[in-house]
Every structure is written in structure tokens, then in C-alpha cells.
Amino acid sequence: MSDKAFKTLLWFAASIILIITGGMLYSLTSGAIPAFKQFGFFEFLSSSEWNPTEGSEKYGALAFIIGTIITSILGILFCLPFSLPVALFIGEYFKGKKIASLLGTIVDLLAGIPSIVYGLWGFYALRPIIMSLGLSPQGFGILTASLVLGIMIIPYAASLSAEFIRMVPNDLKEGAYSMGATRAEVIQHIILPISGSGIFSSYILALGRALGETMAVTMLIGNANGIPNSIFDTGNTMASIIANQFGEAYGLKLSSLIAVGLLLFLITAIINFIGKLIIKRNNL
């Protein structure tokens, strides 16, 4: 194949992706306009009422935005105590050893498990535990969904963090060791400060992943409209309300669900953008 033909092919493939993304954005926006027109953009964002009763239809996304943000951030918090040690284990302690690559592979396997399986595990295994601990009478809710989310995003946070930890220059670490620093001190004073922004950005990317998770969350969050009172309460996320109600929606409700989808698209895009920006700024 000539160079020119190859270049054209690449251009073609790349522009198709752009067109598809642009087309999605366009159809989301045009689908959402009736809802924004009816309720006003800021009113749609700040109202927590989701009332599909005919005659008094009123839709607002606030409860779902809050549900999404709480579950995702809690998910990150639950993920942290597992993913950070795993990253240090793979990226520093057993760097290049067989056991590190074995653990790395197993963690990556977590990413390959379909989310419905996580949902079923949450439903049949985790939920009874939450109930028997007396945290919630029925076991569904923000907490259950967040715990499962936390486990689901471990591979995303851990693999990337390990990569950044591995990239910390050896001469810095050796310098510290030569001055008598222990391994824990090297991690605390050399590795974490240097790879910190990289690790932070990998958690931002994991957060982006948690925001859009649908199936497992829908199965576990309880699907009650309204702003949750506590983390033991039931709720709904932006993705779960769409999954629950898209099938039969029409008219204003359909438009409102598409508007929720557009907001989710924008929030995820912004989060990913911030993550990439931090990686770029620190030139890692």
C-alpha cells in the first residue's frame, strides 16, 4: 500500500470517530432541547422532582446528579485502600517480578467481568451482609452500589497508578536509599510526591468510569427518586434512571431522559478532560 493511500485511510478512520461523536452530541442535544425549553436549563439542573404523572409532568435531574456524584466519589474512596497498595506492590515492591505480573493480570481480569455479574454478586452476596450488619433494612442503596462500584474500578485506578509509580526515576530512589531511608520512607517522601499527580489523574479517570456505570448500580441502588438522606438510603443515578425508564418513555419524559444523558456525557467529558490535563501539566 502506498504511503498516500495509507494516510488517507487513517484520515478516514479518524474522521469517522469524530463524526460519530459529533453526531451523538448533536442527537443528544436536539433530543434534550424540548425538556430544557419546557423547564429551563438551570431549573432542570436544580429541581429534584421527577414526576411522570400525566397532567402534572415535571422533570428535574438534581436527585440523579447528586446520586451519581455520591456513589462515584464513595466508590473512589472504597477503591483507594485496595488499588493504591496494589499499585505499589506491582509498581515498586515487586517491580518486574513474576508475582507482580500475576497480580497485575488478575487485577486487569476484574475489568473484564461483565457489570451484570458484579450486580448479581452485589444482589446475592453483598446485600445480605449489609442487611445482617443492620446498616439498612433492605440492603439496597447508595452504600451497596458504591461498594460494588469501588471494586469495579480497582483495575482502572491500579494499572495506571502502577505505571506512574514505575516511572519514578531510579536515581532519586537510590539517592534516598544511600542516605539510609527505609522503603516506607522512600515511598512516603520520594515515590508518592513525584508520582502523586499521575496517581491523582488515574483516580480521576476511574471516577469517569464510575459515573457512567449502569447495570450493577441499577440492580443495587434501590431506584427510588429523590435526594438520598444518608448513604444507607436508596437513590438513583443518572445512568440508572435512564436504564429504568427509557424503554417506555415518550414525549417530554423521553426528552428529559435524553437531557439527563447529555448532562452525564458532559460531566464525564469534563472529568476525563481534567484528568488528562493534570497528566499533561506534570509532563509524566
Partner: protein, 343 residues
């Protein structure tokens, strides 16, 4: 070469003759009548050879599918209101059977429970939160109710089951009417949502202290406990074929679009309802063939036949009354293909 042409033409003839013999019909919608449709469509296949596939995606989803022209018929437990009827091409409602929305509960040691509409409304509104509430105890004098939090379970997707349930509660509870109101999806703020009748039944089955409203067969097949509901005569009634049939004894309008909840008949189960199949009056939509239109009409007649109606009881639904069948047969006669009557 000649041989090959001959072979090919034979195959083509064979294939085309196959396709005129069996017609495949596709429907989608309510999950509530799925247990009945499973047996009825199987019987229809045995009789005619035609295959009917039905996707239980919820009443709302079924209506959306037929308006998009991707199915031959839609199943729904909530009839289309006048407003929605005006938005789309003319459709006909065909009632296929009657069923009950049952209140099933998961409460250890309690095998018999009486409830009133008012209490159910207050549970779903979050006003009654504990099983040992004095209001519940008052109508269950022989039952020891545990001190346990009530977890109300509702449908998270749009559903005809919800529509029947909400229609009943709107009739008996003014507070319900003013707050949650009626519709296929309501703004539930307490409790847990499950997707589809199986989702609600599954959640009730594994959650101690839960109560949920479900299409009856889903509760029966899982062996869930079912509450007796007080009807407008003051009797506490268990849902069964007789008590559902009793609910449909009032006047039925010609287009059969009617809710039969909170019936005034003695012995009637108050949360009963028809389930309908919705078809377009003009069957030549979305390039459908005349064979499909004819098969659709044939299927509808089959569902009204004595044979199909007698199957309803085997899966805990109730057969239609003769009056309703007569009305519906007249409605089917109105169906056309490119303006000409079918049959």
C-alpha cells in the same frame, strides 16, 4: 448448469411455499400477562403452525414499539388515554384476560395478612413504616405482627401493573390521588424499585419485611405470601379466578377501555384489571403483508376462543365474560388491510 438452475429453482419454490404456510408474529409489552401468553401462544402454534414471539418489556415499551411499527401487536395493562389515542393512528384494544395485582409480602411467621387500600397507600407514601403499626394490627387481630421496618417495593420502569395499582389507590385514598396520583410510572420516593414483575417479585422474595405489588402469577409461582385486600363491601378477599371475575360485572364500554378496580360487586378482588392487546385498525403499516394482517386477526380470535380462555385459570388469571368477548369480536371486525376488511 441446467441441473444447478433446476436445483436452485426447486429450493426457491420450497422456501417460498414454507413462508406462506407459517407466519411469524411479533409482539411486545406488558410483563403482567406473559405467563398466560406463553401458554396461549404455544396452543396457537399447535393449532395453526404460526409462531408468535412476545417480549415482556413493559406496557409502555410495548406501546412505543407498536407506534414505531416494529411489532404486530402490543400488550398493555393500561389502556391508552384519549390524548395518546389522538396522537397516533387509530388503534383497537383487545382484552385477552383479566388478572389481579396482588400485594405479596415477606414476613417470617406471618402466613395470613389483611390489608386495606388506605393502609397500602400509607405504606407506599412512607406514613406507615413498621409492621406492628396499630392500624395494621387492628384489622389483623389473630396475627402477631413483628416489630420490623416495612420495605415497600415498587416498579422502577413504566408499567401497567403500576397503573392498575395506582388507579385503585387513587379511588380509595384522597391523599394518594393528590400526591402520587395515577399513571404507569409514579414518583415513588420511599422504598425500593425493581425492574419488571420478576424484579419486584425477586426483591420481595429475598427481603425480610418487604411488601410489593405484582402480577398475580409471579407471586404464585414463587410461593410468596399474598395479602387479602378489603373490597368496597368491607370483605377481605384473596385474589383468585372467581374473585377477579366478580370484579368485571359492571358495565363495560364498547371499546373495552375501562378500569375495574374497587368494584362494588360482592366477593370481588379490588385490584383487578383487564390486560389488552393493542393493534392498529389499519393493518397495512410498515410494509406488513396481508398474510401477517390475517394471522394477527386469526390470533386475536384464537385468544377469545373457549380453548384459549379456559387456559387462563391454569395460570391464575380469569377468563373474559361473554359480554366482553362479544364486544371485542365486534371491534376486531373493524380491522382493515388497505381499507378493506380482513377475513
Amino acid at each position: 448448469m441446467k441441473k444447478l438452475v433446476f436445483l436452485l429453482s426447486t429450493v426457491t419454490v420450497l422456501l417460498s411455499s414454507c413462508s406462506t404456510e407459517t407466519v411469524e408474529l411479533a409482539g411486545a409489552g406488558a410483563t403482567f400477562p406473559v405467563p398466560y401468553y406463553n401458554v396461549a401462544f404455544e396452543a396457537y402454534k399447535a393449532e395453526t403452525g404460526n409462531i408468535v414471539s412476545y417480549g415482556g418489556i413493559g406496557s409502555g415499551g410495548g406501546i412505543r414499539s407498536i407506534t414505531e411499527g416494529i411489532v404486530d401487536f402490543a400488550g398493555t395493562d393500561a389502556f391508552l388515554n384519549d390524548e395518546r389515542m389522538a396522537e397516533i393512528d387509530e388503534v383497537i384494544h383487545i382484552p385477552t384476560c383479566m388478572g389481579a395485582v396482588v400485594l405479596s409480602y415477606n414476613l417470617e411467621g406471618v402466613s395470613k395478612l389483611n390489608l386495606t387500600g388506605e393502609i397500602i397507600a400509607n405504606i407506599y407514601l412512607g406514613k406507615i413504616t413498621n409492621w406492628n403499626d396499630s392500624l395494621i394490627q387492628a384489622i389483623n387481630p389473630d396475627v402477631t405482627l413483628p416489630t420490623k421496618k416495612i420495605t415497600p417495593v415498587f416498579r422502577s420502569d413504566g408499567s401497567g401493573t403500576t397503573a392498575i395499582f395506582a388507579n385503585y389507590l387513587s379511588k380509595v385514598s384522597p391523599t394518594w390521588k393528590d400526591t402520587l396520583g395515577e399513571g404507569t410510572a409514579l414518583n415513588f420516593t420511599v422504598g425500593v424499585g425493581g425492574k419488571g414483575n420478576p424484579g419486584v417479585a425477586g426483591t420481595v422474595a429475598v427481603t425480610d419485611g418487604a411488601i410489593g405489588y405484582i402480577g398475580s402469577e409471579y407471586a404464585f409461582s414463587l410461593g410468596l405470601s399474598i395479602a387479602s385486600i378489603q373490597n368496597s363491601k368491607g370483605e377481605f378477599i384473596q385474589p383468585n379466578t372467581a374473585s377477579i371475575s366478580a370484579a368485571a360485572q359492571g358495565d363495560i364500554p364498547a371499546d373495552t377501555r375501562v378500569m375495574i378496580t374497587n368494584s362494588e360487586a360482592t366477593g370481588s378482588y379490588p385490584i383487578s384489571g383487564f390486560t389488552w392487546i393493542v393493534v392498529y385498525k389499519e393493518q397495512a403499516y410498515a410494509n406488513r403483508s396481508i398474510e401477517k394482517a390475517e394471522a394477527t386477526v386469526e390470533l386475536l380470535h384464537f385468544l377469545l376462543s373457549e380453548k384459549a380462555q379456559s387456559l387462563t385459570e391454569t395460570v391464575h388469571y380469569a377468563p373474559l365474560s361473554e359480554a366482553v368477548i362479544a364486544l371485542t369480536k365486534a371491534n376486531i371486525k373493524k380491522m382493515t388491510y388497505q381499507g378493506n376488511p380482513i377475513e
